[in-house]
Amino acid sequence: MSEAALDLGSASRYKGLKPQATWRYVWSLLKFRPRYYTLMIVLRIFIFGVGGQLVGLITRTFFNELTSKAPLRFGPAALAAMLVAVALVRAGVIFTDIALDVHWWFSSSALLRKNLFERLLDLPGARSLPYSPGEAISRFRGDVEETVNFLDQVAFIPGYLAFAIVAFVVMLRINARITAIVFLPMLVVLVVSNLAVSALQRYHRANRKAAGAVSGFIGEMFGSVQAIKVATSEERMIEHFALLNEKRRVAALKDRLFHELLHAVFWNAVNLGTGLILMLAGQAMRAGTFSVGDFALFTYYVAWVTELIGMAGVLIADYKQMAVAFERQEELMQGAPAGSLVKHGPVYMSGKLPDLPRLAKGSEHRLERLSVRGLSYHYPGADRGIQDISFDLERGSFTVITGRIGSGKTTLLRVLLGLLPRDAGEVFWNGEPISDPGSFLVPPRCAYTPQSPRLFSESLQDNILMGLPPEHYDVAEAIREAVMEEDLEQMKDGLRTLVGPKGMRLSGGQQQRCAAARMFVRNAELLVFDDLSSALDVETERQLWERLFARQDATCLVVSHRRVALRRADQVIVLKDGRVEAKGSLDELLYSCEEMQRLWRGDLDNANGG
């Protein structure tokens, strides 16, 4: 698989989030479940700032009591008991924290995924993804997780800070000089880390991209199993898969190595600090101004502060990774209004799921006339598309669009219905211009069966209804109109039959008729279908047209090259090279239009071939 995704205009212009934008996104996400997040912060302050500190101070007291001649205030047994008590309380708090964390984590990741998914569903249907679904999935998984994991870590910061501040204060009061020298290397560390940050980002992006390539390829492979078997290409596909995996391994190792080296730099600077404590404390201990208890406390603190500095370093690195993750998610949003990725909304983690809107057909949906003027669209980076298409269709009419391969028939339908974004032109519904056909030309106004319909691995009934309430919509009638009733009788589970991924358990013809039933059940004013009858034999096709025309008042816009359809048409539109070559009734066109004659004759030559 090659590196560059298809150029998609807005997606390719997008060059990455600015740093302020990243912080705004983080802030918006943090405000999503504020009570959970705040509580997590508070609990973590307790765990580290209180619990962590108590452990250190108890330890110090223990050693001081051992070495001093003064009478014991607590005694080792009591101190031991206190340790255990603190641990118990801490355990309870950690338990609560984790429970809260899970809920918060899922809510936050659900928000990101929801916004991503809704955006993709709102884009023109035939152009929603700039790359394969599998590649997009890696963003829904890995990138969302990285983002939320980072924020989870951020919630630890106040706790770390609380610990560090108390530690700092206590240490200063014991011995300011040693304290200062311990903290010096820490500062060096932070400076170094900031310098290395941009290199980290580059490696991480490469790593995630390689992961996306693997993910995407898996999706492709398992989406085309039959073709692979038929071509006996299993081994070649696996070889390519292994190649992609190898690329990822190399990218991941680079990413990790850099990460670890940075980490090592931190730790060494800190160890130097510990060594310095040893150097300086020696003198003070000999002089008696620095007790063994103090020493124990300082080493405890250094061990902890080491950990915390390390985590801070990791946090900085993770921040950069998270920025990359946000970037990749934003890319998927493809030019949505700024901040849509993190816009708050319900995620339905509990309580009632959202109701499905009931859209009964009313008089406002009635179609009298559909008009198209100057409709144009150009595939980016290619020499294909449609140019300046104009036509009208009246209520109750049957319009057929025809033309040779690549003449733009499917493109026209898609642009008309807003499944591709038009470059120019207008569409009018009863004389009113439609600004957003993708949202307007949907049931109950308009229903569409694409050339290659997609079924989902659900039951037959669910694929047909797709959320419509069965009590208000007639599935049986839709199946009859799609000439599928006999097939249905053959199926053991009837409407509950599972159709398998992409509808694979049905034959090609059944898949297409199922999609037709899906269109019919919606009782739309305008029926649009692209090459519906190509998967049907003569008999079945005939029946389908018959039943369709038995419906009074059906307004249809059809792409076809079948004579049955062309003869029935009230209006035939011939496309050539993306333009309207001719319009009119079949007889008129056969008389006057050379292209129509050619198309018509092609079939005749075959028939007379003897």
């Binding site: 031991a80 070889e239 595939y379």
Partner: protein, 582 residues
């Protein structure tokens, strides 16, 4: 659900053996790191005792320097260890991924009809990655930390047997507790991963079908399902995390108990004057050193639980066997056309009615058969059976006189070529789509096939020629163009039997002529079965077979049937002809 250790070891040895050198290096590095950790408390003890006894400053300085040196060494070793372990992990899991993918690709169509690509992504990425840490770290960490613990205990015993006993007892209790909890979460992690797989498979399917969703106005429905599946993920993950929570908290608690034990034992022995303050500090440091290995072992056990869930699911996958397997093979096949024979073949798909029973017919080598019938009558099924994508319940199918079950699948499938109505395309270049990522097929070969097909003019419209990108599912091409690609694919090989299943149904009439000429060339000196709904397509057939409800209604030479007014074929030609007359 307990995962027996045996299974882990089996999986481990298979994938680590080829990397034994790296694994050995990893072991050495980890042990070096352990040794460094054991030394430092000794340095500290020396330091404290020397300081409290007001020993020479130079000794103290030296102790400090050695401490720094050892710590530095430990860091470098740690980086090397992490790198090596990641490497081992990736190499092993990549090999595993390839094996699983290969295994699954070779499974029958029945399997693939039940599992979405999104699900496969979750298995190969999610489940296998959960195993990554297992491969790279587990044994060494567990062994290494066990050695660390033993080292610590030995050194503690050396100081005072009572201290050794107290902390030894503590270590034992901790280990037993951890061991007992090893498997509690596996079942829940498996369920959790399943919910993840369902969610992502749902997502992948819907993302591939946005056109349909949009044009049906089904977005609210899809979003509702989305939320439903998310919710299920949360529910199951919560359960799994609860178990993990228990483990983590137990560790925290035991940590405190360990320190408490060190306090009491150390203080007691010190009060008897048997050890110095420095030694108490040593005991205390080592007690903490006992906790870290236990923590690490615990973490490995946690990952093991996740890996266990992954292993369980992977094993389920690997346990699926294709029912359709290679025959003995090695039967010499000529390169010429193959004859076809069906002998009393009966077949039905899993859960649907019988497709055919007792179907028998013969087709001579080099002849072209036109196969007609209503949709669902069994035409496509015949082609699938010829490819052994499915297997008949009864009867024998022969190609070139040889039972197809006796051949190796690859041999069989290389000799049969098929063009179907739905063309599966990848998100890759045109070249890769034609060659299925085979780098050995040269561009000149591809271009000569394109020329032979007469497709040069169409090819010229592609923006980057062979390097043009095709979107996933072929969204950028029209169905007709996809058909042209499918034809090109088949022409790149040399089949003895060609099956054209609705091959030209998506083409417009004028362009179809183009293909028809090429098909003529393809069918010369080859046996052909042309399945069509359109009468015009079967014009080139030598024989005609009409199938209805899984039975042969009519079978005979085309001309004869055409001239017989009573034949079904001639009647069909009549009704069909009606629409062909201007």
């Amino acid at each position: 659900m307990k995962i027996p250790l045996r299974q882990y070891l089996d999986l481990l040895s298979g994938y680590l053996k080829p990397q034994w050198r790296r694994a050995a290096l990893l072991a050495v590095l980890l042990f070096a790191s352990i040794a460094a950790q054991l030394i430092n408390p000794q340095i500290m003890r020396f330091f404290i005792d020397t300081a409290t006894a007001k020993g020479p400053l130079s000794d103290l300085r030296n102790a400090a320097l050695i401490f720094i040196g050892v710590a530095l060494l430990q860091q470098l070793v740690s980086v090397a260890a992490t790198y090596t372990s990641e490497n081992v992990g990736w190499t092993a899991t990549n090999a595993l991924r390839a094996d699983i993918a290969r295994h699954c690709l070779n499974l029958d169509a029945a399997f693939h009809n039940k599992h979405t690509p999104g699900e496969m992504i979750e298995r190969l990425e999610g489940d296998v990655t959960a195993l990554s840490n297992f491969f790279s770290q587990f044994v060494v960490q567990v062994l290494g930390n066990a050695v660390l613990m033993l080292g610590v205990l030995a050194l503690l015993f050396r100081e005072d047997w009572r201290i050794g006993l107290a902390l030894g007892g503590f270590a034992l209790i901790t280990l037993l507790a951890m061991g007992g909890l090893r498997n509690i979460a596996v079942k829940h992690w498996t369920a959790s991963r399943e919910a993840f797989a369902n969610f992502f498979s749902f997502l992948e399917e819907r993302l591939a079908g946005t056109e349909d969703i949009r044009s049906c106005g089904a977005k609210p429905y899809v979003m509702r399902r989305f939320f439903e599946l998310q919710r299920e993920m949360l529910r199951r993950d919560r359960k799994a995390n609860l178990m993990m929570n228990i483990m983590i908290n137990l560790t925290e608690f035991l940590y405190a108990v360990g320190n408490a034990a060190a306090f009491t034992a150390g203080a007691w022995v010190y009060s008897r004057g048997l050890i110095s303050v420095g030694t108490v500090f040593l005991v205390f440091s080592y007690a903490n050193l006992l906790i870290f290995p236990i923590q690490r072992i615990t973490r490995q056990l946690q990952d093991l639980q996740k890996a266990g869930a992954g292993i369980a699911r992977i094993q389920d996958l690997m346990r699926e066997q294709p029912k359709i397997t290679d025959g003995r093979g090695g039967v010499p096949q000529g390169s010429g056309p193959l004859s076809v024979a069906f002998e009393k073949v009966s077949f039905s798909y899993d859960d649907q009615g019988v497709v055919f029973s007792d179907l028998s017919f013969e087709l001579g080598a080099g002849a072209v058969l036109g196969l007609l019938g209503r949709t669902g009558s069994g035409k496509t099924t015949i082609s699938r059976l010829l490819f052994r994508l499915y297997e008949p319940q009864q009867g024998v199918i022969r190609l070139g006189g040889i039972d197809i079950r006796e051949q190796r699948l690859s041999e069989l499938r290389q000799r049969v070529g098929m063009v179907t109505q739905s063309v599966q395309l990848f998100n890759a270049t045109v070249r890769e789509n034609l060659t299925f990522f085979d780098p050995t097929i040269s561009d000149s070969t591809i271009m000569s096939v394109i020329d032979e097909l007469g497709l040069r003019s169409w090819f010229a419209t592609l923006p980057k020629g062979l390097d043009s990108e095709i979107e996933s599912g072929g969204a950028g091409l029209s169905a007709g163009e996809a058909q042209l690609l499918a034809f090109t694919r088949i022409f790149l090989r040399n089949p003895g039997l060609v099956i054209l299943d609705e091959a030209s149904s998506r083409l417009d009439l004028a362009t179809e002529q183009l293909i028809e000429r090429a098909v003529d060339r393809l069918l010369r000196d080859r046996t052909g079965i042309v399945i069509a709904h359109r009468l015009a397509t079967v014009q080139r057939a030598d024989a005609i077979m009409i199938i209805e409800d899984g039975r042969i209604l009519e079978y005979g030479p085309r001309q004869a049937l055409l001239q017989d007014p009573g034949s079904r074929f001639s009647q069909l030609m009549q009704t069909g002809l009606e629409e062909m007359l201007v």
